[in-house]
């Protein structure tokens, strides 16, 4: 089943064309890496795929439904229900504890708070953060912060996990750990679309898409 389909995606920022016509399909269960140098347009592509930004031209289909970028509330709903985000910087909310950060996206759903907490605790345990659930963000290490961000991205059991340079601010040990988590998450059924400039990280993925100057220059199964 197609989770995400991008057709003829172009993106202009001012007079500069960042994406020049991208066609891309992500199927259920894939772990796709978008590989490209800085400025190649890979992050812009991820923002469009994550329904955070509207393309200048082209269409986006999520779960085979065309996305209408003019309906902001609907976009928010789709992001909350079907997508999860992990950014280069953890982007956790400093006022909240680790547990609260993880629970936050699920509070928008109609799920019972107890059920949300149970799911959050399962994820936290899975990511090896059980001992730190009540810690504030500033009391966590870089690796722990990023693992918390992954737990937050997974709390709503998303169809697609989008990761923008998820290990960009981590040391090699934590990078390895995060990539192993992604691999395990993917094996458990979550589709992943990851943007990176490090070739080394793509060895865990099932497909590599190389982007250069706003165009896909190569797609290779891994």
């Amino acid at each position: 089943m197609r989770i995400l389909t991008l057709t003829g995606i172009k993106k202009k920022i001012g007079s500069e064309e960042i994406l020049k016509g991208i066609d891309l399909t992500i199927n259920r269960g894939e772990f796709v890496a978008i590989l490209g140098a800085s400025g190649s347009g890979k992050s812009s592509l991820l923002y469009i795929a994550g329904l955070l930004d509207a393309p200048s031209e082209g269409e986006v289909h999520l779960l085979e439904q065309k996305v209408d970028f003019s309906k902001k509330s609907k976009l928010s709903y789709l992001r909350n229900k079907h997508l999860g985000f992990v950014f280069q910087f953890h982007f956790l909310l400093p006022e909240f504890t680790l547990l609260e950060n993880v629970m936050l996206p699920a509070l928008k759903s109609n799920k019972d708070q107890k059920e949300i907490k149970e799911r959050a605790l399962q994820l936290i345990e899975f990511l090896g953060l059980k001992e730190k659930i009540n810690r504030r963000v500033y009391q966590l290490s870089g690796g722990e912060m990023q693992r918390t961000a992954i737990a937050r991205a997974l709390i709503n059991n998303p169809e697609l996990l989008l990761a923008d340079e998820p290990t960009g601010s981590l040391d090699s040990k934590n990078t390895q750990r995060v990539m192993e988590i992604f691999k395990k998450v993917n094996e458990l059924g979550t589709t992943i679309l990851m943007v990176t400039h490090e070739l080394e990280l793509t060895r865990h993925t099932t497909r590599i898409i190389e982007v250069k100057d706003g165009l896909i220059i190569r797609q290779t199964p891994n």
């Binding site: 992050s43 923002y47 994550g50 955070l52 930004d53 902001k72 509330s73 928010s76 709903y77 992001r79 909350n80 229900k81 985000f85 950014f87 280069q88 910087f89 982007f91 909310l93 400093p94 006022e95 909240f96 609260e100 936050l104 996206p105 509070l107 928008k108 708070q113 937050r152 923008d164």
Partner: protein, 406 residues
């Protein structure tokens, strides 16, 4: 909504110092509104209540224009004394009293004079009353020190001076004699049977009550009256009823609102000034709220972008920041209400001689719950207004712009 409350609650504790200052600003505004309103309305209500109790709700008097007719002496049968009397006042009372809204009526004979005590003298406004009828048309007895209105009946030389008239003449005991001098030079030795103390300076410093028959006798106006006063069931309908009764007589019918028109106008101006002062205080505190929420919005741009990425709608974001403003308004109101209540309690304990339009032994407060409710509503309104723009700014952020700038 739960996700909005969850985040809004955390944001409340951002910028604690500025938040506290904003809360203090709102509290002062609410407290000022409650105290000023209760003082102002207390004074006004006291004044109006005294006026309603002492003064006729409706009075009928000769038309002033009759006196100003330059050719009146040429009118057939006109007598100069007609200008200052109500012909057939007994019939007028009987006729008007049939109206279902009239509760009681009494004739007055009004005159000017001077009261003397030794070398002290005081110009006064003499009101000749029929004590039995007067009791039906006003509650004047309530304002008498010894409640001795009926003594005017048994002691036809008795007078009831206003408390400030008596004070200026150095009279403070019942039974003291005063010399009443009328404009035509006639004099009458009178005896003080009571003192009239309405609390309204304007009345207490000029008014003297005497039996109507005594005044009629001395003025040689036997059986005459130049003012008929009426007590009605609903004082708020006096103006409408006066207009209705005016259709039935050629004499002037005047409601208490018309008689005290100038005072009521002053009250309106006074109310406007008070509202403007409180408005200014609340506007200043609103700027405080605006400032703090705007600062929070600017500081929390990244967090707002994250919340949007996690599925918060622009409406959720707007509500989150609005709630902060409303929280400041709510907490400020609560503290303001407590402070306002405390101030009222304190002001009530203060004993001092207030002398002005009214006289009292302390502040006259109107402790109506309405002042609290209005104070709370105003503060919420201003807090909401102050929060709308920053909250809107936050809700219209583009998360991608924020992520790109990181």
């Amino acid at each position: 909504m739960r996700h909005v409350l969850f985040v809004a609650f955390k944001l409340l504790f951002e910028r604690k110092r500025q938040t506290i200052i904003s809360i203090i600003g709102v509290s002062i505004g609410v407290c000022a509104y409650i105290v000023m309103s209760s003082l102002m309305f207390g004074f006004q209500k006291f004044f109006i209540q005294q006026v309603i109790d002492i003064e006729p709700h409706i009075k009928v008097k000769p038309k002033e224009s009759t006196n100003q007719n330059p050719h009146k002496e040429l009118i057939l049968g006109y007598k100069s004394e007609d200008k200052d009397k109500i012909m057939g006042w007994q019939d007028l009372i009987e006729n008007f009293s049939k109206h279902e809204e009239i509760k009681g009526a009494a004739p007055h004979l009004l005159a000017r004079g001077i009261l003397k005590q030794g070398i002290k003298e005081k110009p006064v406004s003499i009101v000749g009353i029929d004590p039995a009828r007067e009791a039906q048309a006003s509650v004047i007895e309530r304002f008498l020190r010894y409640k001795n209105l009926r003594e005017l009946e048994s002691n036809r030389l008795g007078v009831i001076p206003g408390i400030l008239v008596a004070k200026s003449l150095g009279v403070n005991k019942k039974g003291e004699t005063l010399l009443l001098v009328l404009p035509d030079g006639q004099t009458l030795d009178t005896k003080v049977v009571d003192f009239f103390d309405s609390g309204i300076t304007n009345l207490d410093e000029v008014r003297v009550y005497i039996h109507i028959k005594t005044l009629q006798g001395i003025l040689n106006k036997h059986g005459q009256a130049n003012e008929i006063v009426f007590k009605i069931k609903d004082v708020n309908r006096a103006e409408r009823l006066a207009r209705e009764l005016q259709q039935r007589t050629t004499y002037e019918v005047e409601s208490w609102q018309k008689a005290y028109k100038n005072f009521l106008s002053i009250f309106k101006i006074q109310n406007t000034i008070t509202f403007m002062i409180v408005f200014a205080i609340l506007v200043v505190s609103s700027f405080g709220i605006f400032n703090i929420i705007m600062m929070t919005v600017l500081e929390k741009k990244r967090d707002t972008a994250i919340l949007m990425a996690l599925g918060f709608t622009p409406r959720d974001i707007m509500l989150t920041f609005l709630l902060k403003g409303l929280f400041i308004g709510a907490l400020g109101s609560m503290i303001g209400v407590i402070l306002g209540y405390g101030m009222q309690e304190y002001l009530e304990t203060i004993r001092l001689d207030v002398e002005g339009l009214i006289r009292s032994k302390g502040f006259v407060l109107d402790r109506s719950i309405a002042h609290y409710i209005y104070g709370i509503v105003f503060s919420f309104f201003f807090s909401l207004i102050a929060s709308i723009y920053p909250a809107y700014r936050a809700s219209s952020l583009n998360p991608v712009d924020i992520f790109r700038s990181q």
